[in-house]
Symmetry: C2
Subunit: 693 residues, 2 copies
């Protein structure tokens, strides 16, 4: 009888947990209400009250996340896949937003004192002299006129609302870093040309097409008298830029559940990651262009060119900064014996990656973009230098941070629909926007794919293009960019519309990708976790195994340079620098080459070369499982494999076995303990002589 | 020739890294200076400038931490152990503080506008009407009179200074949680009675003795005219409370480098962890008592009793809250199959532990204390339910957070000595304070040890007591408590003195513990990492192997209850509830007992019983290596062992093999792969049928 009890307990626990969590949330809400009443206390202890309020606010979100996690588990447990976890987080956020807005009534806090004084500026700090004692106040921002007081619970809703900068400085960096860190895929570099085209040319095209369509829509709205404020052409372009950022997180999560073609995956993922970088800098250069021109209605070529200069400057600056930190971390981890102390190593890795963000922000570059390129560099070089434990530590750490930040953003999105107090919903604008993003995405994908196919040996099939068209979800980046500034009418209109676009794409496109993919690409979406039944039925346009891959000369040039000079310089792998550098650099080369490089110079690393330049035969499908790995590879396995196989790149190796194997013939079950060479002579991890921290 | 290159490269890299890091730091400083000049911009973009400043500030600390990590590595690499890593972090902080204060000159920012208005209160938000536009300002706190303007770079130093609440809300929780999470040691529970006595009675004694000595000192200072302001008896007691908190982090770190007796370790560590909880609540109940009495100079019994009530209320409330969250997490992880998805499991574990803190703060209890007991409960129950990957994930995550937070606090401490602008150093007070903490600690340790020895079978030897006396370092908690409020003269005097006490204890006692221990206890401090030479020479007072351990009846009662009811209810281990609960509770018991409990009910778990209640013979020394484990056990090992041995408690098991073995006879080298039973029939981790997230 005790074999069958488990589902019963599960269900009853669920029934127990749900009200319990809701109780806790209600408690947090009530605690908020109490706090709001107690604001009249006139001492400095008010700061304590405000602290209690903040705790209660944050508790609401923590409970939301907990609830989301439990529901995600339930969905996964029951193999219930019509809704994606980010969509789920949004729904919970929506519910809490509704409760906060309509369910509870909070007394109005009328404690704000309005000082009227003859200042001609708004300083960052103000000292207020209250009967002889000085209190310091810091600027929070301009407040719109107080017409907003008809909204119920305005005070409390304002308190639940986070500073938009939180998204840029706390929540986006781990998400973007993790995306960059997951890009260490051979297929990414093999498709680099196409990915860069989609990211740069495509995003620019999408931005301008969307902007133009929106401008038409806005002109139409003005004619029929539906426009409630100014909406300039630059605003349209700005809107185009922010909705052009497709979400790598959702793409990753959805494609991960499916078994799609590895090239499609690399293209989609690479495009959506770089997309974000382009969109964020594009939007900020449009903002930089805006205050210049007083002729905002007309097209100003020279100002646009200047804006393009800003775009290129910020982009290359952020890129350089991210790459520089990555290279520095690689050098430090290569030349110090820090790998003997995994904790120190992981801490250094984390701090260096974080400092990229801060450095870029302090230099007025874009921290998020710098972090992206830092992630890519770290994955490409530094990762190889880390000890086995640091590899798994850093992966798990960034994975957890990414998971938490992502779900936090999506549940906050749901909440915002009701807690934000300056929504401007306009049906014409919304319909226009949906039309515009559809056209913008189409103008990005189809012409570019046609042009790219002229040069590509491995053509992008038309059903491929439909998938890319359809799965361009808008997510965290679009939201963060639109919430950053909601001061003017135009921005409020944009924010509300963007929110709806995100909801629609995540729920409908996100939920619909699974059936659509199985329809269009013919992918076997029946996920029964057994290796034998997961063969990909190759779509007609793709003859994957026998085609030559995109290996244009710039790529080959870069690859050779990377393989011969950068990798040996920054990591322990690759050919020794003594053999690749000219003879005159002999002493330097000897100094920079590690002893491992000489040992490893054999066939183990030629394997890597083959995999990139030639057809990878069966191993080329290993990248398929990138996201399986990104969502919970057991460490013990990872540890076991990295003890067993010791190539310079155990990540790739481990993925082959850790993930679901796709094309390996099932009559050859890979045994991780026997299919790899025996442990090398380098000291094993269990050596008692090993230094301990 | 390429064998010898490594130290050369190491040294040259060091020579390269150091100026590079210093350059970055200088850049951050210069960027600060630039920013300060640019404050005159009159638009809202000022917020952006302030953001750049914050980034630069944070960058300074990140660079400090990076530098500290690299130096720690260098010290460990060179086996250079006279200075502890926290001491190192403080020294770097000191240097940066000196540079910021004296090295660079920043233009004075005169942008603060002083509004004088007839308000009779200081509201939390103020709306300022600047020529028709409303700007919102939020209260930052009361500013002391502007006499501080003689300090150079005052504006910049103020900007580098963090909000003291950052310590309580961001940096302390991970440190304290990690300490609690590391307390899962049999020796802790075996010595629970003594630990609780030291923590409660001892800390109270120490607080009052220190307070009385300080009161004498203050009265003396008043007589000779050295006192510059009010300093009441409650202030003395408050000072006694904050300096009674000994630092578990430093204790852990120092004892970890040595091979000391396991009972000494458990006593010291347990005492210093609970110490913090007692001190924080003690200090807040003294503050709560303070505004009541207008007779602050005399002893008021009834008010003290009321204060004691507050103490007990807050303590038990925080305890209950922490334990409740721990129990809830244990239930969720037990009854859901969340362990199939390690990422979700770790995220849930992290969020639940964090919500303890927020919940306690929202209820006006003490979040830090709640987090401590949450950590203990999580380690005791929830940890057993986690999957192998989540175990290592959660350990590594909290270890990293602890490491970063700890080093951040200590480098900030160094910085504060120069950046804090209201230091009050008084030689009489400082000498008095050093005398007082010495007497307070002595009054805590010696009489209590004498009393405890009356009841203990395993006596606390007198050289034991000297070690406890000497290694009571003051660290993060003392600092955080003293910086929390530096508004009055008394608090400023306390803060400056506390800073010196922390510096002294960390540098002198911390650095001196190693030689002192070898002198007093006769511990073999020569750490040459080989198992054969690390026998502990048992000190004369301790006949460890043949003594009965402290197992008084309350402990036995609790243990039986825990073993028979709590462990089976909350985890998969222990005897099935069906066998321990009376027959009438049959259906409930069947429902709550997991199938694993029936399977595991055999001899594997009796082993656990033996280890706690009887003499653990050779295995009793396994806890020795707790901190080796806490600073970098390779995961691969952990994974290997948890695959090999699958008791309910792989942490304990793994420690036996992962750490340096102390008393195991060297002719019996333990082989992790053979000394444990083969893997059980439960599905192995590499099972392809396993669900993937």
């Amino acid at each position: 009888s005790f074999v069958a009890f488990s589902p019963v307990v599960n269900r009853s626990l669920w029934a127990f947990m749900l009200p319990h969590l809701l109780c806790l949330m209600c408690f947090a809400v009530i605690s908020l209400a109490e706090n709001t009443e107690m604001v009249n206390v006139v001492t400095e202890r008010k700061a304590e009250e405000s602290h209690r309020q903040d705790s209660a606010n944050l508790l609401i979100f923590i409970m939301l996340l907990t609830l989301t996690i439990l529901t995600i588990w339930l969905f996964k447990h029951r193999r219930f896949r019509f809704l994606h976890e980010t969509g789920l987080a949004m729904i919970y956020g929506l519910f809490v937003g509704i409760i906060l807005r309509f369910g509870v009534h909070f007394p109005q806090d009328l404690n704000d004192v309005t000082l009227t004084c003859a200042m001609n500026s708004s300083p960052t700090t103000v000292l207020v002299n209250v009967s002889g004692r000085f209190y310091e106040y810091s600027l929070k921002g301009e407040v719109r006129d107080s017409k907003g007081h008809d909204v119920p619970n305005a005070e409390m809703l304002r308190k639940v609302t986070f500073d938009p900068e939180v998204f840029f400085n706390i929540l986006l960096p781990p998400i973007i870093f993790h995306a960059g860190y997951s890009l260490k895929r051979r297929h990414f570099f093999r498709n680099l040309g196409s990915i860069l085209s989609y990211a740069f040319v495509g995003t620019l095209t999408s931005c301008f097409v969307t902007g133009l369509v929106m401008y038409g829509c806005v002109v139409f709205m003005k004619v029929i008298g539906q426009l409630g404020g100014d909406f300039f052409f630059t605003d349209c372009l700005f809107f185009g830029a922010i909705v052009s950022a497709t979400d790598p997180v959702t793409v990753l999560a959805i494609f991960n559940e499916l078994k799609v073609d590895v090239d499609l995956y690399a293209l989609m993922f690479g495009e959506s990651v770089l997309n974000d970088a382009v969109a964020i800098i594009l939007s900020s250069s449009i903002v930089a262009y805006q205050p210049e021109g007083d002729n905002r209605h007309t097209f100003d070529g020279s100002a646009l060119l200047k804006s393009l200069g800003v775009f290129l400057g910020v982009f290359s600056g952020s890129f350089a900064m991210g790459a520089a930190t990555g290279v520095m971390t690689a050098l430090v981890t290569k030349f110090t014996k820090l790998r003997d102390f995994p904790l120190l190593e992981t801490a250094l890795f984390f701090l260096m990656s974080w400092s990229t963000f801060l450095l870029a922000e302090a230099c007025s570059f874009t921290g998020v973009v710098a972090v992206l390129f830092c992630g890519i560099t770290q994955a490409h070089y530094t990762y190889n230098n880390l000890s086995a434990e640091s590899k798994s530590r850093s992966k798990q750490l960034f994975e957890l941070l990414d998971f938490l930040a992502e779900n936090f953003i999506f549940s906050y999105m749901g909440l915002t629909l009701f807690s934000f107090q300056h929504h401007v919903f306009n049906p014409f604008f919304i319909i226009g926007a949906f039309l515009a993003i559809f056209l913008g995405r189409a103008a990005n994908i189809y012409p570019l794919s046609f042009l790219l196919n002229l040069g590509r040996k491995n053509k992008i099939a038309s059903n491929f293009q439909h998938v890319m068209m359809f799965s361009g979800l808008r997510g965290a980046m679009t939201f963060a960019l639109s919430i950053r500034d909601t001061a003017t009418y135009a921005r409020q209109l944009m924010f509300s519309t963007t929110l709806l676009i995100v909801f629609f794409t995540v729920w409908v496109c996100g939920g619909g990708t699974t059936p659509m993919l199985s329809l269009i690409v013919g992918v076997d979406t029946d996920q029964d976790n057994s290796v034998s039944s997961t063969h990909v039925t190759a779509p007609d346009g793709m003859t994957q195994r026998n085609t030559k891959h995109e290996s244009a000369w710039p790529f080959r040039l870069w690859y050779t340079f990377d393989h011969n000079y950068l990798k040996p310089f920054l990591t322990h792998s690759g050919p020794p620098l003594t053999s690749t550098l000219p003879a005159c650099c002999g002493p330097i080369a000897r100094c920079l080459t590690s002893s491992q490089a000489y040992e490893n110079a054999g066939q183990l690393h030629d394997e890597d070369t083959e995999l990139i330049l030639n057809d990878g035969s069966s191993l080329m499908y290993s990248d398929m499982t990138v996201s399986t790995d990104a969502h919970g590879m057991p460490t013990s396995q990872a540890g076991l494999y990295s003890l067993a196989g010791t190539s310079d790149d155990p990540l790739d190796r481990e993925i082959v076995f850790g993930g679901t194997r796709l094309v390996l013939p099932t009559d050859e079950p890979p045994d991780p303990l026997t299919s790899f060479p025996p442990p090398p002579p380098s000291p094993p991890l269990s050596d008692p002589l090993r230094h301990r921290v």
